[in-house]
């Protein structure tokens, strides 16, 4: 349900394979935007799923891609709802201070 963005690192030499594989992920319900960097072996991936089940399935599919060396979650942008697995707030830098425990 939340929108997530990642940095995806390809296995050495398999950047294009990774880009293609990630673009093929999911079905019509899943939006998976892939932005390869021009001058580095690095991709930005933005995912958007309609419900938890699809999200879980997408996660599974993501980590199974053979050309994927590593995946780093950068931001989770939610609608402000409570989620069972933990609550996150928007991952965008702000000028003010931030909350803590």
């Amino acid at each position: 349900m939340p929108i997530k963005s990642y940095l995806a690192y390809p296995v050495r030499g398999q950047r294009d394979a990774l880009t293609a594989a990630l673009r093929r992920l999911g079905g019509c319900d899943v939006s998976c935007e892939v932005l390869p960097a021009e001058n580095r072996d690095l991709l930005v991936v933005v995912t958007d799923t309609p419900d938890e089940a699809t999200e879980a399935a997408l996660q599974e599919a993501l980590v199974r891609v053979p050309a994927l060396e590593g995946l780093a979650l950068v931001a989770v942008v939610g609608e402000g709802e409570v989620e069972a697995a933990g609550r996150f707030t928007a991952g965008v830098p702000e000028e003010t201070g931030h909350e803590s425990a």
Binding site: V63, G70, L73, E94, A101
Partner: protein, 232 residues
């Protein structure tokens, strides 16, 4: 004759021992008479936590920097939070442990330095405070964790986990969103294969962490100049 002498010796020894007991007990009784010092309750002023642990295990930094950043599939951020009742709470033990508490020896064998555990197919998290060895005083196993590791044990929800984001400007070093009590050794949680992916630092070889990462918690009142008349 020899019997007498040895008996004399034994009596002498006993007397000596009794004298010693009298002295020792006497001293401790006297000491007990000193009035207990009652320290006043500190006012709530923000204080800066100790940093003794920041440079600990710095030698590992080079190893961590050389390791491939393989995604740690079991230790997700969700699982990390699910093991803690609240921020700063000691995480529960998600794997079976023996009833008899042999804390100091057994836990540190894996959690002192981390490493791959074939049985759970996972990397062990490293403790930021190895000097505290009475582990089961704070870390308890959750009922029902006998059958292998639990990905998500329910300890109740974590309220308000710190927002994971960059610093206040694009590319700034993020401030430290959590308190540092017992977590002064940054590398334990933020570097190495046992770290949660979303928390792993890109630069474990830089060992002077607080040179760039300011303490962000607890939040302070905004800066304001003192009223006319200056210092207190």
């Amino acid at each position: 004759m020899s019997v007498n002498r040895s008996r004399l010796f034994l009596i002498g020894l006993a007397v000596l021992l009794m004298a010693a007991v009298v002295v020792v007990v006497g001293q401790s009784l006297v000491a007990d008479r000193e009035p207990a010092r009652v320290l006043p309750v500190a006012e709530a002023t923000p204080t800066l936590p100790s940093e003794a642990g920041m440079y600990a295990r710095a030698a590992r930094a080079v190893d961590y920097a050389a390791m491939p950043t393989e995604p740690n599939r079991k230790r997700t951020l969700a699982a990390f939070y699910a093991r803690r009742a609240s921020l700063g709470a000691p995480p529960v033990i998600p794997h079976p442990v023996e009833e008899r508490d042999a804390s100091g020896k057994t836990c540190l064998a894996c959690h002192g330095d981390g490493g791959w555990v074939p049985r759970f197919e996972a990397y062990t998290p490293v403790t930021p405070h190895p000097e505290l060895t009475s582990c089961r005083q704070c870390h308890v196993p959750l009922a029902g964790s006998e059958s292998g590791m639990r990905g998500s044990t329910s300890t109740g929800q974590i309220t308000q986990p710190p927002a994971l984001r960059g610093g206040v400007m694009p590319g700034s070093p993020p401030p430290i969103p959590h308190g540092l009590e017992m977590r002064e050794n940054c590398r334990a949680c933020h570097a190495g294969p046992g770290a949660v992916d979303a928390l792993r630092t890109t630069h474990p070889e830089r060992v002077s962490c607080r040179q760039c990462h300011a303490l962000g918690a607890p939040p302070a009142a905004a800066f304001a100049r003192p009223p006319e008349g200056g210092a207190r």
